[in-house]
């Protein structure tokens, strides 16, 4: 980071994301805030918190899809607030945080391998699994399962708009997993044949509902209709204190608009990128805190916010 330039939280955040493709948004946010701590020299604990709150707000405002990011920054703020009084001198606390800045990313990755281990019993021989979109946690779980010689097949949806299905499918095939790529519109066609659905998450709401790449909610609802279990794989630092009731409640940019004239070429990328899946459709969340029912998420949130 250039010493002459004033610290730019957004640039730092984006830089972290760019440097490490394995890094998730909440962890990048945490790392940015830690970097800020190192840069800014707050004199009192109150000032420290103020600086952090301000930066976190700036960050949220400057990034279009800020839900995932806010999970990380909120968690970090809460952690600082909770522990600042426990430490006899808050300087020590700050120093500790700054020194361990890098290890957070490492431990966030560890979370994923924890999830893979906890999720392994859910992948069973002769399973047919439906995966929507690309998720690092799902990838890691299926990789582990394949390496343990579990025999299963995977349907991967194209996940239009983000169009990451192709990348995911290629990665699965590389692992030797029999993979079938399907367009999003044919989920209803394959769902009766599927045994279970695995999803990643960008954020997990307080209700246990899941914020994820667009298309997730329709896949999950179809699965629910056919009584197929839906498992969401998410690290606990993605739990966020939000209580959306529908996808409309997510603070996202441009919703779809109605027009009567032929506008410029149809571009789905202009629409929303994420949607919300209500908790009642989700069978379980496989997290680094263990396998939780959707209601377990609020338990965990309560533990850190009100415990």
């Amino acid at each position: 980071m250039d010493d002459d330039m004033p610290f730019d939280i957004k640039q730092t955040y984006l830089k972290f994301l760019e440097e490490d493709p394995q890094l998730t948004m909440p962890v990048a946010a945490i790392q940015s805030l830690v970097a800020l701590l190192a840069d800014a020299q707050p004199k009192t604990s109150a000032e420290l918190i103020e600086v952090l709150q301000e930066a976190s707000q700036t960050l949220k405002d400057s990034v279009p899809n800020s839900i995932s990011l806010s999970a990380g920054s909120d968690l970090f703020l809460r952690f600082v607030v909770r522990n600042i009084h426990d430490y006899s001198d808050w300087e020590a606390c700050k120093r500790n945080l700054v020194e361990n800045g890098r290890t957070f990313a490492e431990r966030a990755k560890e979370s994923r391998s924890l999830i893979a281990r906890l999720g392994l019993p859910f992948v069973r021989d002769n399973d047919i699994i439906l995966v929507h979109g690309r998720s690092r946690a799902v990838h890691q779980l299926l990789e582990l399962a394949a390496s343990k010689h579990v025999r299963f097949q995977v349907y991967v949806t194209e996940a239009r708009v983000c169009a990451e299905g192709q990348i995911a499918a290629a990665a699965f095939r590389k692992l030797g997993i029999p993979t079938c790529m399907i367009p999003d519109s044919s989920v209803g066609y394959v769902i009766p044949k599927v045994h279970k659905v695995f999803l990643g998450a960008e954020g997990v709401a307080e209700s246990g509902g899941v914020i994820n790449q667009i298309g997730s909610s329709q896949v999950v609802m179809l699965a629910h209709q056919f009584k197929k279990p839906v498992f969401v794989l998410a690290e606990s630092h993605k739990f966020v204190r939000l209580f959306p009731l529908s996808s409309d409640d997510l603070t996202t940019e441009t919703p779809y608009t109605f027009t009567t004239t032929e506008t410029e070429e149809f571009d789905p990328a202009n629409g929303p990128q994420i949607d919300f899946t209500p908790h009642k459709y989700i069978t379980a969340l496989i997290t680094d805190l263990g396998v939780l029912t959707p209601s377990g998420v609020s338990e965990e949130l309560i533990k850190i916010w009100f415990g």
Binding site: V27, I30, L75, F76, F79, R82, N96, L97, N100, T103, F104, R107, A108, E110, S111, L114, L118, P121, F122, R124, P229, F231, E235, S236, H237, F239, T283, A284, D288, L289, G290, V291, T293, S295, G296, E299, E300, L301, K303, I304
Partner: protein, 352 residues
């Protein structure tokens, strides 16, 4: 050759009994496990509570392996683990930084390694031992005592009701009906539970009739037909899972589905030893498959050669099929069970 009183011999004998199903039925298994652990805690040497927890966990693994379908064993072990953790609060702290298996809080990724000082002021093991053994004694009394369960249940039975029960094997229900019969008059319909419960159904009905309760045995197939005149369905499952669903002897799902169809309440009676920390994520593994010879006659050579038979011993009933779960601490809606489970167990012990 080890002496007969040796705890290792007792463990080996108990595991063998579990494997051979010489001990069966949740209550019997729960009691036997509790007694075994009581002796285990008092006879084993363990310097700290952590050692004790590890040793008890190891024992739990052994017992679970011996009979994976009998969850009562694991339930009791987990209850005792929880009690050890409560008695010696330092344990929780020490384990908080241990993130090899599972993180204990959302702060997991932030807490700095080594920052949680290993507290040295453990309780002295003798005090801990006394406290834990006392807890186990309380637990044993609780398992044996179904009075609170019956008290809550009695309030839910009215005079002249028709009650259908598809579990003729349950001691809990038998005792309950006999108790209620002293205060109320009602009719019990017992389903036959073919093929595994036919004998039991006869015995169950006989016992009830002797006590002056009007009792009928129904073939399983007629459940839907009689459901309109039934006022309540009462079941006693093998295990209550953390999501409020239950694992019950096969033949119970049908009456519960019929009850749902007719909007009749389904009451679940379960002693607290039946509460499990497990979720039904892998139902197939929780269901035991029994004797095929009960479905078709072994002597029927032609049929045996041509047919393949599976005789599952259990049904899984989701929480949506049940209305109330009555345990030793009172009645709860199925969706609330996860909370009761959290009160009884520590999530760290989910995997032994």
């Amino acid at each position: 050759m080890s002496a007969k009183g040796d705890i290792n011999v007792q463990i080996a004998a108990f595991t063998a009994q579990l494997q051979r199903r010489e001990i069966s039925g949740s209550r019997a298994v729960a009691l036997a496990t509790a007694h075994l652990i009581s002796r285990f805690v008092s006879s084993r040497r363990w310097p700290t509570a952590d050692d004790l927890i590890n040793q008890v966990k190891r024992l739990g693994r052994e017992l679970e392996k011996a009979q994976p379908h009998e969850l009562a064993c694991g339930n009791i072990i987990r209850r005792i683990l929880k009690s050890i953790r409560t008695v010696d609060e330092t344990v929780e702290l020490v384990e908080a930084v241990d993130d090899r298996e599972r993180r204990s809080s959302m702060f997991g990724i932030l807490s700095v390694p080594g920052s949680g000082d290993k507290s040295t002021d453990h309780m002295r093991s003798r005090d801990l031992k006394a406290a834990v053994i006392e807890d186990i004694q309380v637990l044993i009394e609780e398992i044996g005592n179904e009075e609170p369960l019956q008290r809550v249940g009695t309030e839910m039975i009215n005079d002249n009701e028709v009650i259908l029960t598809p579990c003729p094997r349950s001691v809990t229900l038998l005792d309950f009906f006999l108790k209620v019969a002293q205060k109320r008059s009602f009719t019990v319909l017992v389903t036959e539970c073919y093929p595994n419960g036919v004998e039991d159904a006869k015995m169950f009905a006989e016992r009830l009739t002797k006590a002056g309760i009007r009792t009928e045995i129904l073939p399983d197939a007629t459940v839907n037909a009689v459901m309109s005149k039934v006022s309540k369905v009462i079941i006693s499952p093998r295990t209550v899972l953390a999501n409020g669903g239950v694992i019950a002897s096969s033949g119970m799902a049908l009456p519960c589905l019929a009850a749902k169809n007719f909007n009749k309440p389904v009451l679940v009676f379960a002693g607290s030893y039946k509460l499990s920390l497990l979720y039904p994520f892998d139902v197939e593994r929780l269901i035991e498959v029994g004797n095929s010879g009960k479905v078709i006659d072994f002597a029927d050579a032609d049929l045996m050669d041509k047919l393949e038979v599976t005789n599952p011993l259990c049904d899984y009933l989701g929480p949506e099929l049940l209305d109330i779960i009555i345990t030793t601490d009172g009645g709860h809606p199925p969706n609330f069970m996860y909370r009761i489970v959290l009160d009884n167990y520590s999530t760290q012990d989910q995997i032994l």
